[in-house]
Amino acid sequence: MKELIEYIARSLVDDPTQVEVNCDRGGNKTRVELRVAKEDMGRVIGKGGRVANSMRVLLRVAAAREGKQASLDVVEPR
């Protein structure tokens, strides 16, 4: 799941070095947290959240294949 989000994010941003993906496991549910450079936030969120939502859909499939559930949060850079 982490690899999927990492791959998508790195492929879409201008600054791949600042892509950071963390997984928070709580039982069956995994919370995936994506951080990118401030300038790249728009690219991973998209108009009306379209990119982020598409990533969520794909993440759901990836998680389902592992028998899990997952959610994705795009968070502000530190």
Partner: protein, 256 residues
């Protein structure tokens, strides 16, 4: 991307476009290229079963060393029987280097599938435009078993995969490439069903004089309905509502 090879194949809706596209890609004037038409392509019905034209271009080098072209396949004299049955899936010969865009599209989709733990085969090809208003597209076909998970409710997963893939391909190629992803012929099947549905609903509208609302559909499916009824004599279509519940309604045309 490399264009070092002196021979490369190009695929486009027509022979002329293929040559033009090839010349542009190679950065060589058309008269400096030897053209071998591999397939003249055919129109097919409703964009189904249509075949792209395929040409092989070789850069003529200065020292009069004519590339080993079969004289009977020279551009002017090509006479390929177009009457032959168009096969739904044309597996392109990959003896020569694959078109860079197709290769890129295949790689991106394959990579995404790998990371989603889905094992499948991926094949990209160009598909001809449906009509003159339509754009040429790259179609990526995903083949394998138990892939319904890739389609999802109202083809949500398939559309997400298509959207993300398009973005990545565009980013890497540096230019937007219309991309369509299909799983086991799902979109083609669905398109046929939608066309039948559109016709049937239109008939009902004509019959009853009342508008018909269709089920909510993603944009690409609504488009199929709009296109199918575009030239209908008595009805017209419009999309109403907000995504993701936007739907097509079919209404009676005002008679003059």
């Amino acid at each position: 991307m490399e264009y070092k090879k002196i021979t490369q194949e190009f695929i486009a809706p027509t022979v002329e476009e293929a040559i033009e596209q090839g010349a542009k890609t190679l950065g060589i004037a058309q008269d400096k290229l030897d053209v071998e038409v591999l397939d003249q392509g055919s129109k097919g019905l409703f964009g189904l079963g249509s075949r792209q034209a395929r040409v092989r271009l070789s850069i003529r080098n200065g020292e009069e060393k004519k590339p080993e072209l079969n004289p009977k396949t020279e551009r002017a004299t090509v006479e390929k029987p177009i009457a032959e049955k168009p096969s739904p899936i044309v597996t392109d010969t990959v003896e020569i280097e694959k078109d860079p865009v197709l290769k890129l599209a295949e790689d991106v989709v394959w990579e995404l599938l790998q990371k989603m733990h889905i094992d499948a085969k991926v094949e990209a090809k160009y598909v001809a435009p449906i009509d003159e208003r339509d754009q040429r597209m790259v179609q990526v076909e995903i083949l394998g078993r138990d892939l319904s998970i890739l389609i999802g409710r109202r083809s949500e997963t398939l559309n997400s995969l298509q959207y993300i893939s398009s973005l990545i391909v565009a980013k890497e190629y540096g230019e937007w490439v219309p991309l369509m992803i299909d799983v086991q012929g799902y979109r083609e099947r669905r398109e046929r069903q939608l066309k039948v549905l559109a016709r049937r609903m239109a008939e009902q509208v004509v019959h009853t004089g009342r508008r018909q609302n269709l089920e909510p559909m993603p944009a690409n499916e609504r488009r199929v309905i709009h296109l199918e009824l575009r030239n209908h004599e008595y009805v017209m279509t419009e999309s109403v509502g907000e995504e993701p519940n936007r739907k097509v309604t079919i209404i009676l045309k005002k008679q003059k």
